[in-house]
Amino acid sequence: METYVQLIVLGLLHGGIYALAAFGLSIVFGVSGVLNLAHGEFLMLGGMGVFALRSLLGGNPFVLALLVLPAAFVAGYVFELGLIRPIAARDERSRVASAVLVTLGAALFIEDATAFVLRLSGTDYDVSVPYTLPSLFVGDIVISYLRLLVLVLITLLTLALGYYLKVTYTGMALRATTQNRRGALLTGVDTGRLSSITFGIGAVLAAAAGAFEVVLASVDPSLGLPVTLKYLCIIVLGGLGSLMGALVGGAILGLTEQFVGFYSPAWGQTAAFFILVVVLLVRPRGLFGTY
């Protein structure tokens, strides 16, 4: 019994972190129509940022993360302005091609440059921020407060995001543009600026996931592309542009990984991808997709 509770908590925890970053990728794609292969680099940089600040200043990693997030927003905003805006106006086929080239190139650059900086500073390749809290005992069940804290933070972030998308002008414009770009343009949405903001939000979500990742596990420079791939799978699984889809997709992936991984460690990741293929067979547009 306690094993299952542990597995569920772990699964939801990882799933929540996945969902956070995956949803960032999903809205970026929805608004700009660009497949951002460099999305995972923001996660990696977020984790690295928390690690760097912790090494320089010390202190609570979650407080330091609050300093990293605005920087992530600026980074995402500038990334869109410099690299995505020039290719966004091209026709669809050449936009897909250009986006693959530009974002793949950026991902390779960021990865190698980060590894280079790490080597210069003489740090280990694999960095983590050690941080522990006491555990909660409920009967036989032991749950670390750290995990619960992260779970609460993720939930709060998700609720805030859902509220933001539902109520604010930018949020509504964002959803409108995802649904119909031309329609949004006609009703006076500045889709260009919105695209920059969306990249900023996407980068913030990825960096937040990176901050959790560096505290709970570890982060290394070559993390970016593999996690991007994982997030792509989640949004295909859940359906594009849907917060619910990203949450459910992330939870499915996290829970499968934990449960299958518990019985047979090697198969955890594989099982998750098999689920993806099955979902595609049954429902090509994803669980919550509308197109």
Partner: protein
Amino acid sequence: MRALALLVLLGVLALVPVSGVEWAGYLSRVLVLLFIYIVLAQSYDLVGGHMGYVNLGHVTFFGVGGYALGILWNAGVPFLGALALATASSVAFAGVISYPFFRLRGAYFSLATFGLVQLMQYSVLNFKELTQGSYGLKVPAGERLLPMYYLTLGLVVAVVWSSRAIARSRLGLAMRSIREDEEVAADFGVPVLRTKAIALMISASFPGLLGGLFTWYILYINPEMLFGIEIALTPVAMAMLGGSGVLAGPIIGAIILRVAEETLGTMLLYLHTAMYGLVILAVGLFMPGGVVRLGPVARWLERRSPLAGAR
């Protein structure tokens, strides 16, 4: 005249390994890698360029061929039989995945095929009895640079010739009509699903055979080598860089990226991957449609090259 120029080029390439020049060995190795990438990029472009389905999982065909050869050959199947079976298994794999994956379109198709790369990597890691997992697979050793050079050169010729023939055939026309508008194509009686499956299987046959040869040449393979993310994206980047959907595009793209990587790797001690990334990025930013669609290059190709014929 143009055919003559191509023949001379092929003749020169055929003489490289036996020329007796001091650096012939090094050059042959570099060229084998280039030929491998040309075959991958060109066969990718059959589906990615001519049919308009950006298949980010193209490298899985290469990996399936490579692993199939290693497993079968080690199990005692004669080499040529194993090679034929490796190619066949790659084509069969393409046939099987074509049904679920071609239900998706556009970016969704690209996302899912990209996921396939990771799925294959995990599967190979997990079926340890068959693939040795992360230890990697060894095959009987031997020095195979010279035969590999001519075989891959032959494959380059074969894949370019086949692409040209396909582009000019009824199948090629069906593929282009799917690229331009799938609904209209279906309304006009193009068997859309069948065409897509056949195109994918043809595009899988070359990397399947090549994967088998690669295992035979390189002697040791592991999941990261055959199902890695960077090797998955490189041929796609090459095709797009050169110009997707034009016969000469993938070849030009492969040459540019290989030369860039080779020179950066020897010139810079650090950060060559970063510079390589910047090259790819700059091409995406400043050359939409790839090198072959730049004004002067396009005009030059129109005039001279038999490769530009098939649009």
